[in-house]
């Protein structure tokens, strides 16, 4: 376990340096406090909508098809036949809003009678009906071709979110805060290289992976504490945690480890400490901007959106938000989770490969 020996040494180097440690652990605290106070404004969630077709007539099916064809809506499959199924999805956070087409819809259309629709949504996002209602009205008008009285009844499902804004902000801030670790974590490696200590270790039988994992090790506790600070301060600031806190913690921990891997890559490539600590900002800030830490990515051009989507950070923010705010379970975020793990593995593997190259120039 040579990586453990290198890791132990690096732990001591880091934890015996109170200034460095205070910086690493104080940073998330200061950071989250400043950003929580500084940023205002409301945020919107993606308008993915579920549909319950209780009527199941030709007319209702045609209406559903019409809704599906509207670019402003993303109809989540499947089309439910009973309200209880959709209600369940709403509770688990799989859906944030659904439209109920009640029995008698087709008949009412045929007889030019007043039509009743019901829109049920998650209280966590009060913006949803404001976006959904005008769209549904417009579609109904188009579909019916003549004005018929249309009632859309809004129904909130009970979710105890005290402050939606904080619930949107904290996961994004936590991921951003973990990204801020990237410039710091390569520091020990870069310093050791400059002082010749890394070369000395390279004359021992330690392998490239021993170095990458050994230099990562001391920052694992830093990440755990940082995530705890983000969530802890978040709760103090009014963050409502609906889902499984442990799962949210896991997601943030993994993205933290992923950032650690990126830091190791930079530590391997950097020629000086200035490079290792300066260069990352060139990509951290743009990535955070396009990853939805401050504003939803739906409003961005599709090219930007696909870049954000390819990177792991947006996935971490989305998954954390839906766990915390919507109570989403493990199954619903499995894809995000695998994506994060995949990125992390690839980055560490790349780190080992590049380190191996740097061992013999």
């Amino acid at each position: 376990m040579r990586f453990w020996e290198i890791g132990k040494r690096n732990l001591k180097e880091l934890y015996r340096d109170p200034v460095a440690l205070a910086f690493l652990l104080g940073m998330p605290l200061v950071f989250i406090l400043i950003f929580s106070f500084a940023f205002g404004g409301q945020a919107t969630r993606p308008l993915s909508i579920g549909i319950v077709d209780e009527d199941q007539s030709q007319i209702s099916t045609a209406f559903v098809n019409c809704l599906e064809s509207i670019p402003a809506l993303e109809v989540a499959p499947p089309i439910y036949h009973s309200q209880s199924q959709a209600e369940e999805e709403l509770d688990t956070g799989e859906l944030s809003i659904y439209l109920l087409i009640p029995r008698g819809f087709g008949e009412a259309v045929e007889h030019r009678q007043a039509i009743d629709l019901e829109l049920a949504y998650n209280e966590a996002d009060p913006m949803l009906p404001q976006r959904a209602v005008p769209v549904i009205r417009a579609v109904a008008l188009e579909f019916l071709n003549i004005p018929i009285p249309l009632n859309i009844e809004l129904r909130e499902t009970e979710v105890e979110i005290k402050d939606e804004y904080i619930n949107y902000l904290i996961p994004g801030m936590a991921v951003f805060g973990l990204m801020i670790l990237i410039p710091s974590v390569g520091g020990i490696m870069v310093r050791d290289r400059a002082k010749g200590f890394l070369s000395r270790l390279m004359t021992t039988p330690a392998r490239p992976s021993d170095f990458i994992f050994g230099y990562s090790l001391p920052f694992v506790p830093v990440i755990v504490v940082s995530v705890a600070i983000y969530l802890g301060v978040g709760v103090l600031m009014g963050l409502s945690i609906i889902g499984n806190l442990g799962l949210a913690f896991l997601i943030l921990f993994i993205i933290g480890i992923c950032c650690l891997g990126i830091g190791m890559l930079l530590g391997t490539l950097a020629k000086s400490e200035e490079q290792a600590s300066g260069a990352p900002w060139i990509f951290i800030i743009p990535i955070v901007m396009i990853s939805g830490a401050w504003w939803p990515v739906e409003q961005m051009p599709s090219v930007i959106r696909s870049i954000a989507d390819a990177l792991p950070f947006l996935h971490a923010m989305d998954a954390t938000r839906s766990i915390i705010t919507l109570g989403t379970g493990l199954e619903a975020i499995t894809n995000d989770l695998l994506y994060l793990v995949g990125w992390t593995v690839v980055i560490f593997a790349l780190g080992v490969i590049l380190f191996r190259r740097s061992m013999r120039s």
């Binding site: 290198i6 040494r9 015996r16 200590f197 000395r200």
Partner: protein, 309 residues
């Protein structure tokens, strides 16, 4: 590979961006030998060592350490070598014991052996009473000693010492020399230095390196005798007469007199004859000696430049 050799290099060459740092070196270092690479800064000594301990890839040529090829079996080599780099490479916030443990554990030593070995080293190097203090508070000399101990802790067969006494005070240097001298025979040691007295005191054989090339190779005595055709005698003398000075100049090629010191250089010097001649002329000889050639002279003779600028 000849079984008697611990280190062999074959046309070992390294260039950095077209600049030749090591230029086709062929060395055969015997098992148990203490071999010194002597040369000025920038001669290619460290580059050579870095290639041998698998930190640098040769541009061409290769080398074998105990039969293992540096290009193909670097991790085999790393198991049997100990390296003391030119910089004082230690972990500042660890204490000496922890620094030694790190290297020992990376070499897979068993804890009991490691403990006794590091204890013994700490005592020999005079750091036993500071074994639990973080090394960042240590003096330069103490750090230097620890750095060298770290190359020895796992008891390697082959030892690379890159300028081992750089920055040590004369007393500590002497202690280090004696310690290194005691390691001879037991280990094969390749030492680089730009101190002639160090190479002279320690090395079985010395290779003089300049601008990446080996320019001379042999024991200290061989180098000194084979290279110099000229001997020098230095006499502290008073009451010199013009006549005796004239006579000396007639007999010997170079005679210089400054502040009561007469320096005579020639291919052949007769010590007794010179002293007698001075006595008979009425001069008072206070001291007289034949100056032995130094490696500095050898270096100057071969390369036409001083070892230390």
């Amino acid at each position: 590979m000849n079984g008697d050799f611990a280190i062999q290099t074959f046309n070992l060459t390294k260039t950095f961006n077209g600049l030749v740092a090591v230029d086709g070196i062929d060395l055969n270092i015997k098992k148990g030998e203490l071999f010194a690479l002597l040369g000025p800064n920038g001669a290619g000594k460290t580059t050579t060592i870095n290639m041998l301990c698998c930190l640098l890839k040769p541009t061409s040529g290769t080398a074998q350490i105990m039969g293992y090829d540096i290009n193909r079996q670097p991790f085999k080599i790393k198991e049997i070598i100990g390296v003391s780099p030119q910089e004082t490479a230690i972990s500042e916030r660890l204490n000496p014991q922890e620094n030694l443990n790190l290297i020992g554990e990376l070499h897979g030593m068993n804890p009991r052996e490691l403990k006794s070995r590091s204890q013994q080293l700490l005592e020999t190097m005079g750091l036993a009473d500071r074994a639990k203090d973080q090394v960042r508070k240590f003096s330069g000399g103490m750090k230097r000693r620890l750095s060298i101990m770290m190359a020895l802790v796992h008891n390697p067969e082959i030892l690379f010492l890159d300028e081992p006494t750089l920055g040590l005070d004369p007393q500590a240097r002497r202690v280090m020399w004696e310690y290194i001298a005691r390691l001879k025979e037991d280990k094969t040691i390749l030492l680089t230095t730009h101190y002639m007295d160090e190479a002279d005191f320690l090395a079985d054989r010395i290779s003089i390196i300049d601008e990446g090339k080996i320019v001379a190779l042999g024991t200290s005595a061989e180098l000194k005798t084979s290279m110099l055709e000229k001997h020098t005698m230095i006499i502290s003398v008073q009451n010199l007469t013009q006549q005796v000075i004239k006579e000396m100049r007639a007999r010997y090629a170079e005679v210089e007199i400054t502040n009561g010191t007469m320096t005579i250089s020639a291919q052949k010097l007769d010590f007794k004859e010179i002293v007698d001649l001075l006595h008979t002329s009425g001069a008072t000889v206070r001291s007289a000696y034949i100056k032995e050639p130094t490696l500095e002279d050898v270096f100057l003779h071969i390369t036409g430049k001083e070892l230390r600028e």
